[in-house]
């Protein structure tokens, strides 16, 4: 199979970028999109050109590193699929394919198709944890958890933090990511003590990073390779409203003397 690729090339954040046309041939239908990119890079290297920089790691759809907007769709046209699990048989021979990086103010571009997603890490650091003793492993059945709750928490915990939700959102919002991370802890009994401080802090960090707001388009849900539902956004909204409208409990710092 042969393809015409239009790829965003940009040497660094400070330099202007542009779409550059490349022809790639010798692609087989069984190649993944990233393998096709590898093939292109080999051809570029042989021709003495700079290869296209892109992120990838596990190449089995679980690490969340690959990040390409293919023909205007984050992770390409297939639903519930990361770029690495997208195969070239999805495309027609001779097709023109456009490849762009995630576009968001909070994801500064580093080079070509690579963006810096550490904004997500900072959202996690703001509250994506539970405070427990790190002693010996607890007995598994000491805290009973209803199966439906455990399943729901796991649905949220499926998030691999790839950022497709931000890339697909017309507003560049990170609501689905933050909601998934807030919910997978907030649903479980172990996450209850910090449930409301967690949502307040993570949302504050999300806003601080410069993500947009939610207009309930559900484009994020359609782009999510793990099919995380926007029901978690509704759940986060409810938790956030409860947290801000409730009297804040001040637990930080020393107690005042009388």
């Amino acid at each position: 199979m042969n393809f015409t690729l239009k790829i965003w090339r940009q040497r660094s954040h400070s330099e202007p970028g542009q779409m550059v046309r490349y022809d790639v041939d010798g692609v087989t239908p069984g190649m993944s999109f990233l393998e096709m990119m590898d093939l292109l890079n080999e051809q570029l290297t042989v021709g003495g050109e700079e290869p296209v920089a892109f992120d990838s790691d596990c190449r089995e759809g679980i690490c969340g590193m690959c990040s390409m907007v293919i023909n205007g769709q984050a992770h390409g046209p297939a639903r519930a699929t990361t770029t690495c699990q997208l195969y070239m048989r999805q495309f027609e021979d001779g097709e023109e394919i456009s490849v762009e990086p995630w576009r968001a103010a909070a994801f500064p571009l580093l080079r070509d198709l690579v963006v810096d997603r550490s904004a997500f890490d900072r959202i996690m650091q703001a509250g994506g944890y539970i405070s427990v003793h790190s002693g010996p492993k607890p007995e598994p059945n000491s805290i009973p958890i209803e199966n439906a709750l455990a399943e729901e928490a796991l649905d949220a915990a499926c998030c691999i933090g790839c950022g497709a939700c931000v890339a697909a959102c017309p507003n560049g919002a990170a609501m689905l990511y933050t909601a998934a991370k807030v919910s997978h802890l907030g649903i479980l009994p172990q996450g209850q003590p910090e449930r409301y401080t967690r949502v307040t802090r993570m949302v504050a960090q999300m806003e601080h990073e410069g993500f947009g707001s939610c207009r309930n388009y559900a484009e994020c849900e359609a782009a999510c390779p793990k099919e995380i539902s926007i029901k978690f956004i509704g759940r986060m909204n409810r938790d956030y409203l409860t947290a801000t409208l409730r009297r804040p409990i001040k637990r930080d710092g020393p107690m005042d003397s009388q």
Binding site: K6, V69, N171, G172, N237
Partner: protein, 247 residues
């Protein structure tokens, strides 16, 4: 007070305000509609129209406990504040959303879930602001398309909706309102965290019923007047006064 500030500054808080004020405005629309449909009621006496009595009631409700039009102005103030907050929050969020993606995609982004109704909220909303201004100028202050029938709502309706351009404009406006509500009447529940998979289908159907129902019911009044189903008004103002005195 500090919490109110934090709440207002946050994106989720602002969306909640948009949703809550949207709910207030939707509730107002329903009451407005109930009032409009009084145009179809039979006349209580020759030359007296039920909707005119209703309009008088709106001005005098609360008397003698409150002076004339106090209740009406209170409701108007609540609606104005709600509308102001609705618009202010949306404008601020829209700016924030634009800043969140400074470099646009070159390939036109695919839209897989967002309905046209959702995508056009800013446009339909902007049109509705214009519509509200024109509508108030026409039927509240009487400055636009002045009718000379004073406070007789029935006569004003009769005169306005015998002109095709008014009927057309109101029909288009109601269609745009329906588009706005198709997304808004569902979205407000999601923004307030009241939606969940159990309720979602019901809420989506609620939004569909609201938008179609509001369009049909509001558009029925101009359509009825234009089609000639409604009687021509008598010199209404005087007759209404007479009727009131006789009672």
């Amino acid at each position: 007070m500090q919490r109110v500030g934090t709440f207002y500054r946050s994106v989720i808080g602002k969306k909640a305000i948009v949703a809550a004020t949207g709910a207030i405005l939707l509730a107002f629309l329903v009451f407005h509609l109930i009032g409009n449909l009084k145009a179809f009621l039979p006349d209580p006496a020759p030359g007296v129209y039920d909707i005119d009595l209703y309009s008088k009631f709106l001005r005098t409700v609360g008397e003698p406990l409150f002076p004339r039009t106090t209740v009406l102005w209170t409701i108007r103030c609540v609606l104005l504040v709600a509308l102001g907050l609705h618009i202010a929050c949306v404008v601020q969020l829209a700016k924030q959303n634009r800043d969140a993606r400074p470099v646009a995609y070159i390939h036109k982004p695919a839209r897989r879930e967002a309905t046209p109704s959702a995508r056009w909220m800013l446009y339909t909303g902007s049109f509705l602001i214009l519509f509200i201004v024109l509508h108030l100028l026409q039927f509240t202050t009487g400055t636009l398309g002045s009718t000379g029938f004073g406070e007789s709502v029935y006569a004003n309706l009769y005169l306005a909706f015998h002109k095709l351009y008014f009927v057309g404009f109101y029909a288009v406006a109601m269609l745009i309102l329906a588009l706005h509500l198709f997304h808004g009447a569902w979205s407000l529940f999601q923004s307030l965290g009241l939606d969940n998979p159990d309720r979602n289908l019901g809420l989506r159907r609620f939004a569909m019923a609201v938008s179609i129902g509001i369009f049909l019911a509001f558009a029925s009044v101009p359509a009825a007047f234009y089609s000639g189903l409604m009687q021509a008004p008598k010199p209404a103002a005087q007759l209404t006064q007479q009727f009131e005195q006789q009672r």
